[in-house]
Symmetry: C2
């Protein structure tokens, strides 16, 4: 089995995790949690979103969080940004990187962004230009690559078109999202082999959700194809908006376990990561859904 | 990706699932559940265990269950059997196959069977001979292949020795168990490549637990190596005795999803399987832990 020696895990829990939890976590707890995460060896943390609080009230304190955390110079801190207004606030917050996002499927893009796919491109183009002018790197997210909750299967040509447009804008990395957790390894192989013909592998990240339990199998396939960047949320924080209470993001702790056991280096300290998990679990006041947090919660051995 | 076209799923929920649940399910409910399972397209169901009820009171009604179910001639019905006394009862129950079991690690074998590994062989030998004399097929289980809760890592030579002894007795199939759910894909590859040098691939089954979330990734690796028989328990029934409440058996419904999506045939009807899951979930009076049962429980789309 051909596997990479090193993998980068991008922690999206403070954003993609918390935005899907109904509990409102106090700003100071978010700050303390991100400070914990900053000491685990993680090199990348997406700390919040500048989407209007009307849509995501859980992250309405993005500016306070960004200003309140203690920055570790080894860590890249990023926020989601939907438009120029969001970019202004992200620049005020002085994050290292901004993330733009859209879907590969029309219906999801419309529901999520309230624009057609073609209407979305110029809005994001402005954000990328504005961010680049301020020397910020830009990450793109493409959602519903492996399936859409409204449109079902998404033709690979639609995915390619959006990827092409986003890379043409000058983004530094693109995160390929299985938004509703339907992907299977064979499909992952097909999609990644197709995309890596046109786009550089080292600028593509994978963002799997574990809704149907297949996320780590999909990671394995990606690793075997030479992909080395994965998004995940500590504790599997954040559910699935299409089946409340079901698993959401691939859990950082479960991902780390599998990588570590296969001798793949991430730079992350498992003990410190589990401590950061225990911290937010206590603040959430409920057991987090990941396998490792469940074992730890019950006094089992996570190693 | 090289994948097999067909896979056999062996349903162990009525045995390995229920023996690890503290709830006592009434005999008539077990019978009704197995009758449901018999109509899903499953070709193999392990219905109970003739281990002494002192050790596993949850399965103390094995004989009543075996006599009470409506046999589908397309299904092989099996029970666990620890010794000649157990075999007698299994023969009285007229099951199609009996399963013998032991561990690859001394400490787990001792705790589980109260005998050393070397003391266990002659006991199992008698069972195999007795079963063969009555024209019953025999399945072996080898536990703790990928790690032991007491001894930690288990040398592959110890695994090979037990496999060799069990096959020498004349068993028809051997199920390779990750009893505590610690296996990772790289280790699975190493173990399976080593074992398939000495033993026929089509007589080896894989029995993964999903305690750390890696079961489907381990299945994927096994599939890529050409293994085609997997044990699982509907709904992920049965926890982990070493971390109460943590995930246990790989869930049949989650396994079926991944296989189906990769166009691998199992003969199992997903709708009927989910209905059989809903039945036992209702009897257990709690949501079952598998991803698909969780989604179904919350009204989401499992396909």
């Amino acid at each position: 089995m051909q596997l990479p020696h090193n993998v980068t895990i991008k922690e999206v829990g403070p954003r993609d995790g918390l935005q899907n939890e109904k509990e409102m976590i106090p700003t100071e707890d978010k700050i303390e949690w991100i400070n914990h995460l900053s000491k685990t060896g993680l090199s990348y943390i997406e700390i919040s979103s500048f989407v209007h609080p009307k849509w995501i009230p859980q992250l309405g304190d993005a500016l306070e969080v960004a200003k309140g955390i203690k920055r570790n110079p080894e860590v890249t801190y990023a926020t989601l940004v939907p438009n120029l207004k969001g970019l202004e606030r992200a620049l005020e917050a002085d994050v290292d990187e901004v993330s733009i996002f859209m879907s590969a499927s029309e219906s999801h893009n419309k529901k999520n962004i309230n624009k057609s796919i073609d209407e979305t491109f110029p809005v994001l183009q402005e954000v990328v230009e504005g961010a680049k002018a301020e020397n910020k790197s830009v990450r793109g997210y493409i959602s519903t690559v492996f399936g859409c909750p409204y449109d079902g299967q998404v033709p690979i040509e639609n995915v390619q078109k959006v990827c092409d447009q986003l890379f043409s804008m000058g983004i530094d990395e693109l995160s390929i999202g299985d938004t509703i957790g339907v992907a299977n390894p064979l499909q992952v192989q097909h999609v990644l082999e197709t995309l890596s013909k046109d786009f550089p592998k080292d600028q593509l990240a994978l963002h799997f959700h574990n809704t149907r339990g297949t996320a780590l199998a999909n990671v394995l396939t990606s690793l075997q194809l030479g992909f080395t960047t994965f998004d995940s949320a500590l504790g599997g924080l954040g559910g699935c908006p299409y089946a409340k209470g079901a698993s959401g993001n691939l859990a950082t702790d479960d991902l780390l376990y599998m990588l570590k056991e296969m001798n793949i280096k991430t730079g992350i300290n498992q003990d410190k990561l589990m401590q950061a998990g225990a911290f937010i679990q206590k603040k959430m006041d409920k057991p987090l859904p990941s396998h490792h947090m469940q074992i730890a919660y019950r006094g089992g051995d996570v190693t």
